[in-house]
Amino acid sequence: MNQESELLERLPFRQRLSHIRATLGILKDMDKSYLPCQVIFCLMQTGAEYGALLLSGYVINELAAGADYRGLMRAAVTACILLGILKAGASALKASIIVKRDLISRRYDTLQQEKLTELDFSMIDSPRLKEMQEKIQRNNNWGAGMYTVFWSVEHFLTGVFRLIGAVAAGIPVLRYLGGGNALPSACIMAGLLVFLFLSIRVWFHYQKIAQYMMFHNLTTEEKKRLYDYMWWYASLEAFRYQNGKDVRIYQGYDIIKYWVQDREKTREWRDYFVNRPTVGYAGTGAAQGAMSGLGVAGAYLLVAWLALAGGIPVGSVILFAGCLANLLEGITILVFEFQELGLASRKQMAILELLSLSEEMYQGSLPMEKRSDGQYTIEFSHVSFRYPGSESWALRDFSLKLNVGEKLAIVGRNGSGKTTMIKLLCRLYDPQEGVILVNGVDIRKFRKEEYVKLFAVVFQDFELFSLMLAENVAASTEYSEDRVERCLQDVGFGERLAGLKKDGEGIRSYLYQDYVDSGIEISGGEAQKIAIARAVYREAPFVLLDEPTAALDPLAEAEIYSNFDKIAGEKTAVYISHRLSSCRFCKKIAVFDGGRLVQLGGHEELLAEEEGTYAKLWNAQARYYQMQ
């Protein structure tokens, strides 16, 4: 599967048709009137084309017959105006189609991301989803996404109407056929068709070569020789300007240049990315050019031949040749565009697959009991958990009970399962073994959206958005101004807030400048405070803090801690920290090691176990201070 992309394999007709149907289905879902508008537009446009063709045929015939030129002029002018109106209508319709396309395509691009907010968290982070996203990206790398579909549909419809028009407008001319020269003209016609189909074959052949580079997945070995990081680095997706320090200090310019630019200097690279696809593109272009050229030139030759032999009127030469050219072109358009539309639709399948995903976590239906007294207990009972795609246990046979108002500190080395425990408690993941109980009930049985309201969390890698400060705190477009301000005051953001109120928009200020240019800049410590304020605003019975102060200096850290009591108050709190000294306000300390709970108890108690993990962690930090 890795060698060739599935986009390169040929599919049975029926399957292609079903892809196309599914893709048109999306279009219909997003804008019901789009496809009808598109059909009407193509009809009008083709109609105008044939109108002009019929008009020239008529005029020339009449002229040849020696009609009165005044009458003819009047007729021609009238017809021109009518056609003009038709064309004007068509172009107005087209303008609205273009707007529709724009909106559909933007909405469509956004669908994926919107979908991500609905899926289980475990899915978002899973290799499976990553693979799907990569596939989507790969499939849409070449071509213009939904736009390719729009264009293909338009061309295809035009082809259909041209064919129909050719037959309808060409029928009257047929009566001139059947003169003595039926056989040779049939032969020429047959020859034209044969040539046409040969060209189509040639076209397919080169198209395959051209597509090889686009849709072939490089193997690992090929990647080692051919892959480059140009795009990834230059777009600053994988390279931040701060990394420039390392490049300068370690004189890495050479190696970076090698990976972003010099790889193209190899022969193999050029063969794969330049020479081969260029041959493919040039071949398809030539075949396409030959076909449309042949359609026109062949049509005139054939019709002139017939006219000379069978006496087709002069005007009908133009009409008939036009119809014939349209017929031949219509056939090629249908063949090409069916192929194009099939491919473009197939590329959408990966997105459709993503959009059709549904939550897999167990969805309980129990309402969450809202206790005004805040009497909740949490119990982990023999919980084991492995991250999706991982072989080792992140948490193993973990049991712990936590009562209301208790403060629990969790300590342990990196990767010992501390954050995992929090994620399980919030139902970002469900454990593979064991259960987590709240007030004695398996948490999976509660309605998830109600259940998570029990928790106010600040993660180590918290996110603030470049949106309105108040909305960031309230996580909603609706918020109580007083409450937002109070929360910000409580976490120590009051001073800055006063400043913002004085010469800014107060809590209506936007953070950063990604969303609006006038956004405010905040420091790391201030961001931290806002994130904590967001948790406070929740007014949830449980507060979970996952090492929120790692990046702060000692004084700023101490400030956050001093506010912590205010924040946690009487609530139940779980606190993770690397700095053991900051666990001081917790009566209960849980020590994690390798995914297991190895120690539980108060500080003295734990320290007394001299060989214990806690003592080791403690001494690593405390030995310096104790030498005091």
Partner: protein
């Protein structure tokens, strides 16, 4: 900014205003240098592209003429068949050239992009932090990034199409002027009117561009950076933010729709007038041509030919207008790009590579290089080499002043990064709100072989100090001396050679392990293994069968190396050890590590900094207390200095900070004593 005034017209070095012609010449030279065959293909496409449709309108004329005159089969085949064949041939050539050159164009575009990126590694680091420069980079990148909307595409394909259509225009005018010069003049003026109309339409739509871009930016932010971000996924779920974000997004879409409607309404007038003119032209042409036929001036074949020519005019006009738009936009984009490429450099590509690389894009910049007098560091006396310095190296800050005043405090990039990194690790941690001046007449000597620790609150100037120390920044006033010699006397690349530095942002490129550690294309196998061993990674690598040729990360090889946070720190340690430079600098790289890992890392650094000058920064004072000297930095000044003991004895700021951190530990220790 001192330099970068290649074209005197621009006031700021970040803006260039080359004319369309100058920019066309720029790309022409670029193609000529990098892929001359491309220019020939363009020439062929222009000529054949003008000829093919012309043959196309001649075909029906010839057919009609032959039918009217009752030609025999041989003549028919010779004339019409011949012209038909020519037509098919022309279409084939045109098809193959216009399609075939696409990949070639695309690789050229990629070359421009990679040249831009590499350029960003040659401008002084200080400049890359500036808001204007970052914006300029972004604009230059965007100008090249969009495949068929790129500057190179616009100017290449636009120019091609303009030339093609002008030739066609002239061909058709010639044909028509045989019949009636007056007619040609009439048609030309009609075309001009249509050109003007279309132009005003474009101008009218330009009003909407800024607000449209704004809406686009909001949509992209919400969808890509918020909803689509894995990092934000936890919060979105736990805080139930779906509804909030959905509402905002719907609002953006509603506004987009509204805007599109207004846009259509305002362009309608132009479209309708232009359409009416076309009808007028067609009807007039018909009437006039019918009259001519009736007069006997022309035959049926000519009638078709001339009518085809008349209707052709409007499509030329349309194409030209469109192409002019493309070219203008492309030229604007190129102005950003050229402005960036002409920024002064810290060192030129030749200096870095120490050899010429023929056929590379750097050739283009070189033409402008005359106006680029190196970096902010005066290079007049650049004759010394770092080899002459005795180790260990003594570093002296003499009367150094440094200010961030030129950094825009409203800095979208820092914002983006602090938003991304969440925990608020910012590169400019010293400059939280663009406060400006960091150091004022700052003096300090770090003796050769001394281990110095730098402590202080966020914003005290520690990170800035490190950057000044390594030569990443150059002071605005005063000088930095290496063993008593002004640093500016050495080439900057050589100065960098003196430092092994580990910064806050990890840079672990997904190359081969050997490349990623050494940051070089070629490395010494034994020395590299030794460095990995000393960094405590050798055993792990051997257990996991990781060789120096394994790839870091999973981008290239699914079996690639993945490391945990602590192991990554060791990887960086290995890099510093492999480089084995005389000065070791650590800018708090261990914030996210657990206590055991942190103390291990610091122990390793201490162990390997023997005989080296070393500077450590950490928030955890315990990690820095074994240094020979501790400097407490505040507001760009050293407020306290001495050994740990001395500072504790003094009982001031340092002691206070130490108390804050150690209170609990100390208390526990006392209790312990009490117990025993």
């Amino acid at each position: 900014m001192k330099a970068g005034k290649a074209q005197g017209t621009a006031a700021s070095p970040y803006e260039k205003h080359y004319s369309i012609l100058q920019n066309t010449a720029y790309y022409f030279r670029f193609y000529q240098k990098s892929m001359p065959v491309f220019l020939w293909l363009v020439l062929v496409e222009i000529l054949v592209g003008a000829a093919a449709p012309f043959i196309g309108i001649y075909l029906p004329k010839l057919a009609l003429d032959l039918v009217t005159e009752g030609a025999d089969v041989k003549r028919l085949l010779c004339r019409l068949g011949g012209l038909g064949l020519l037509y098919v041939l022309a279409r084939m050539v045109l098809g193959s050239v216009s399609e075939g050159k696409y990949c070639l164009y695309n690789t050229r575009r990629n070359e421009l992009i990679s040249a831009l990126f590499l350029k960003s590694l040659r401008v002084p680091y200080r400049d890359t932090e500036k808001q204007e420069v970052k914006e300029l980079y972004q604009k230059s990148f965007e100008a090249m990034a969009m495949g068929d909307g790129s500057s190179l595409y616009g100017m290449t394909y636009g120019t091609l199409s303009i030339l093609q259509n002008i030739i066609s225009f002239m061909l058709y005018s010639t044909v028509l002027s045989v019949l009636s010069p007056v007619m040609v003049v009439l048609l030309l003026s009609l075309s001009l009117v249509q050109y003007a109309l279309n132009f005003s339409k474009i101008k009218c739509l330009e009003r909407f561009r800024a607000s449209g871009a704004e809406l686009g930016r909001r949509r992209r932010y919400l969808s890509n950076r918020v909803m689509g971000s894995v990092k934000a996924a936890k919060e979105i779920r736990l805080f139930g933010m779906k509804e909030w974000l959905g509402k905002l997004l719907d609002g953006v879409f509603a506004e987009m729709k509204k805007q599109e409607k207004t846009k259509r309404r305002s362009e309608n007038v132009y479209v309708q007038v232009s359409g009416a003119l076309t009808v007028l032209r067609d009807a007039g042409a018909y009437a006039w041509l019918i009259y001519q036929v009736f007069q006997g001036t022309i035959g049926a074949g000519d009638f078709v030919l001339y009518f085809g020519a008349v209707t052709g005019f409007s499509s030329f006009v349309e194409s030209i207008i469109q192409s002019v738009g493309m070219v203008r936009q492309g030229s604007n984009g190129l102005n950003f790009y050229r402005a960036y490429m002409e920024l002064p450099e810290e060192f030129s590509e030749e200096e870095i590579l120490e050899k010429e690389v023929p056929g590379s894009m750097s050739g283009i910049e070189r033409t402008e290089e005359g106006s680029v007098p190196g970096s902010a560091s005066g290079e007049e006396g650049r004759c010394r080499h770092v080899e002459e310095l005795c180790h260990p190296i003594e570093i002296t800050f003499q009367d150094v002043s440094f200010s961030y005043a030129d950094l825009n405090p409203h800095d979208g990039y820092f914002a983006a990064h602090s938003a991304e990194s969440g925990s608020g690790v910012r590169d400019d941690a010293d400059n939280p709100a663009g406060s400006g001046q960091i150091f004022r007449h700052f003096n300090l000597t770090i003796r050769g072989g001394e281990k110095v620790a730098l402590v202080g609150v966020n914003g005290a100037g520690k990170t800035t100090f490190v950057k000044l120390l390594c030569g990443i920044y150059e002071p605005q006033e005063g000088q930095i001396l290496l063993n008593g010699i002004d640093r500016r006397e050495f080439p900057r690349g050589e100065v960098y050679r003196l430092f092994s530095a580990v910064f806050q942002e990890k840079f672990l490129p997904p190359f081969k392990v050997g490349e990623s550690v050494s940051m070089q294309k070629e490395w010494e196998q034994d020395r590299l293994w030794k460095a990995l061993e000393n960094a405590g990674l050798k055993n792990l690598f051997q257990e996991r069968d990781i060789t120096l040729d394994s790839y870091y990360g999973k981008y290239i090889d699914e079996q690639g190396v993945e490391l945990s946070g602590g192991q990554e720190q060791r990887f960086l340690l290995a890099r510093a050890l492999y480089k084995d430079a005389p000065v070791l600098v650590l800018d708090e790289p261990t914030a996210a590590l657990d206590p055991i890992a942190e103390s291990e890392i610091y122990d390793s650094y201490l162990k390997f900094s023997e005989n080296k000058t070393a500077v450590f920064i950490s928030h955890r004072l315990a990690s820095t207390r074994f240094s020979d000297r501790i400097l407490l930095l505040d507001g760009g000044e050293i407020v306290e200095e001495g050994t740990h003991q001395e500072l504790m004895d003094r009982g001031q700021r340092y002691a206070e900070m130490f108390q804050v951190q150690s209170s609990y530990y100390a208390k526990a220790a006392k209790e312990k004593e009490a117990f025993s």
